[in-house]
């Protein structure tokens, strides 16, 4: 039964998307683009989690890179220093960021608005500083070397096509999981929190519980991304987990549209494409440096907030919907006219 106004997961979309991912390496064969696409997948996992947090729970996180970093460093220390198998360290790399988010959420539950933004910002800076300074464990600013590659059934998943598929396999899982959450009772409760926390709590929605759960989930997604990032690269350094990284994740979500899981995914892809285009232009015109990237990210954030407050994806999706319904209503009108 289909209820009026209840959104359901459009499996067609997921299927088409999965197919596009499957054929991408056959169409684009340069290893540069494949690496970029793999990175895009890693970022997409974080962006989807952040999108759930922002668009559905109405919370902001200015420190998402902290969870990403903790995931990456947890697995690095467990595998390279302590010799665990990466597959065993995966649950731990999810658990630690989740646990931190739980503690954060629990202690900071009295904070809201700008104060919460401040708290997440502080968390990001604290974690980054610890990654740099706790040299005994993290090896400091120079970075952590010798992270083992992933092995599956005796087959090494090395950088390139195998890792691309692995990352996007996880992206699809995260995507399906998120779409299902969004279209479930929990998702509707979350959306009501986003619209009006007071109204939804007076309707009997346990707002703090849902907000906490989604915060933990977004942290675990970031941890998963960190795990993928660590085992893709032979080495990691704290420079990848800065405030700027947190802002970049924010930009991805805002560009795509925080009220939609697909939006976060599309936003990630677009932001990565901007990076690639700037990089390519920079090779042709020496005056275009990597700083241009930041100018453009800044510009995107400003323009999106002013002109597309809901983000790119929901706006475009509505255009299409409007276009389609107009067509179909015209058709049905014609049919009616013909019958007469």
């Amino acid at each position: 039964m289909k209820l009026q106004g209840v959104q359901q997961t459009k499996w067609m979309g997921v299927l088409v998307f999965a197919l596009a991912i499957l054929v991408f390496p056959f169409i684009v064969t340069q290893s540069f683009y494949l690496t970029q696409a793999t990175f895009a997948g890693i970022y997409a996992i974080i962006a989807i989690g952040l999108g759930l947090l922002m668009g559905y729970a109405g919370q902001i996180s200015l420190g998402q890179a902290a969870f990403y970093g903790i995931g990456a460093y947890t697995t690095s220390v467990l595998t390279a220093t302590m010799g665990w198998s990466p597959w065993v360290s995966l649950p731990i790399a999810l658990l630690f960021p989740g646990l931190l988010a739980f503690i954060m959420g629990y202690t900071m539950s009295r904070l809201s608005g700008y104060y919460l933004a401040m708290a997440t910002l502080a968390l990001g800076i604290i974690v980054h500083t610890l990654l740099v300074e706790w040299r005994g464990v993290t090896k400091g600013a120079s970075g952590f070397f010798g992270i083992p590659q992933l092995n599956l059934f005796g087959y090494t998943i090395n950088q390139g096509i195998p890792y691309y598929y692995l990352v996007w396999f996880f992206v699809i899982i995260v995507l399906i999981l998120s779409l299902n959450i969004v279209h479930s009772r929990v998702g509707r409760a979350l959306r009501s929190i986003h619209d009006s926390e007071i109204a939804s709590s007076s309707m009997g929605v346990n707002t703090s519980k849902y907000k906490m759960q989604i915060f933990i989930l977004s942290a675990m997604f970031a941890g998963l991304a960190g795990w993928l990032f660590a085992h893709m690269s032979y080495s990691i350094s704290p420079a990848a987990f800065t405030f700027d990284a947190s802002i970049l994740f924010l930009a991805m979500v805002v560009l795509g549209g925080s009220g939609s899981v697909w939006g976060a995914l599309i936003g990630t892809l677009l932001i990565r494409m901007v990076g690639i285009v700037v990089h390519m232009l920079g090779e042709k015109f020496p005056f275009i440096t990597s700083d241009f990237e930041h100018v453009i990210y800044g510009l995107i954030l400003m323009l999106v907030v002013i002109f597309l407050p809901r983000g790119l994806f929901p706006t475009v999706a509505d255009w299409f919907d409007a276009l389609l319904t107009k067509r179909s209503s015209k058709k049905s009108m014609l049919k009616l006219a013909a019958k007469r």
Binding site: G113, Y115, L121, I126, T129, E293, H294, V295, G298
Partner: protein, 292 residues
């Protein structure tokens, strides 16, 4: 004992800068309820504009005035082009808008001024002075003096003038203020201009000590934001207390524990204070509640 005095002096100096930046946050927030995360970028622009002017041979005092005017105009432009258009957006969007502005300004600055740290001459001759086993540079004294001056002038402006009354009125109740013939739009624009000027002033004061570069604004903005939050958003005395507290935490943490860990120590302390007082040290209970 000498150490403690030295760390305290350093802490008060840097804390004064944070306090000025935090006052910029408070000025904008109290009128528009916007947190302007590009506030640190005004500081950076202040320092770098002064560098360009002095190296172009403009006299020091004239350069000082021109810098403040230029950055104030930029603040006005920012309000006019961005904030006014996004009126009514929710706090998350506004945070993102000002972060976008900050990144944009920083990117432009890195193209214009390059990535090196630049040297700006101090206000007066800068021979360190010895006070009971601790040294302090005249520029550091200037920084503190400027902070006190800013606090005093802001107090006069807000509490003793008609403009200040209009400012307070549109902060308390924009609609009622409008009915009384005050234009909240004009006040919003004034608040951005004023806090850009404050940022520029902070930049001018800190430039000879910190050697400005295109990326100095991020951390200063974050610390100023923390100071404003710590003091209680919207409270000017809170901003000053917050700023000095963060400056002291930072310099004592760097001195006694580890200079690399200073940011972690400072922000852990901030989290701890927020845990005990969720609306800041001098914040009212309702401030910042129900926003996001």
């Amino acid at each position: 004992m000498g150490d403690l005095l030295q760390f305290t002096l350093t802490g008060v100096t840097i804390g004064s800068i944070y306090a000025i930046v935090a006052l910029g946050f408070v000025t904008i927030y109290s009128v528009t309820k916007v947190i302007n995360l590009a506030q640190g970028e005004f500081v950076m622009l202040g320092g770098l504009t002064m560098y360009s002017l002095t190296s172009a041979g403009v006299p020091y005092l004239l350069g000082f005035v021109i810098t403040i005017i230029v950055v104030s105009i930029l603040g006005w432009i920012m309000e006019y082009l961005l904030i006014r258009r996004a009126k009514g957006a929710d706090p998350i969007s506004l945070i993102i808008l000002t972060i976008g502005t900050a990144i944009f300004i920083r990117g432009i600055a890195s193209v214009v001024w390059g990535k090196d740290q630049l040297r700006v001459a101090p206000f007066t001759e800068n021979t360190p002075v010895n006070i009971a086993n601790a040294t302090i540079t005249p520029q550091a004294i200037w920084v503190v003096v400027i902070m006190l001056l800013v606090v005093f002038l802001l107090y006069i402006l807000i509490d003793k003038t008609m403009v200040g009354k209009a400012f307070q009125a549109s902060s308390v109740n924009p609609l009622a203020a409008r009915l009384m013939g005050i234009s909240p739009k004009r006040m919003s624009s004034l608040s951005f201009t004023l806090s850009a000027a404050l940022g520029a002033l902070a930049g001018l004061a800190i430039a000879p000590i910190m050697f400005p570069s295109y990326d100095m604004g991020t951390m200063l903005g974050i610390k100023g934001f923390s100071a404003a939050i710590l003091g209680g958003l919207g409270s000017a005395p809170g901003a000053v207390i917050g700023g000095l507290l963060i400056g002291l935490l930072e310099s004592l943490g760097a001195g006694y524990i580890s200079s690399g860990m200073k940011d972690a120590i400072t922000f852990s302390a901030i989290l701890l204070i927020l845990l005990i007082r969720p609306s800041g040290i001098l914040g009212e209970k309702s401030v910042g509640k129900g926003g996001l």
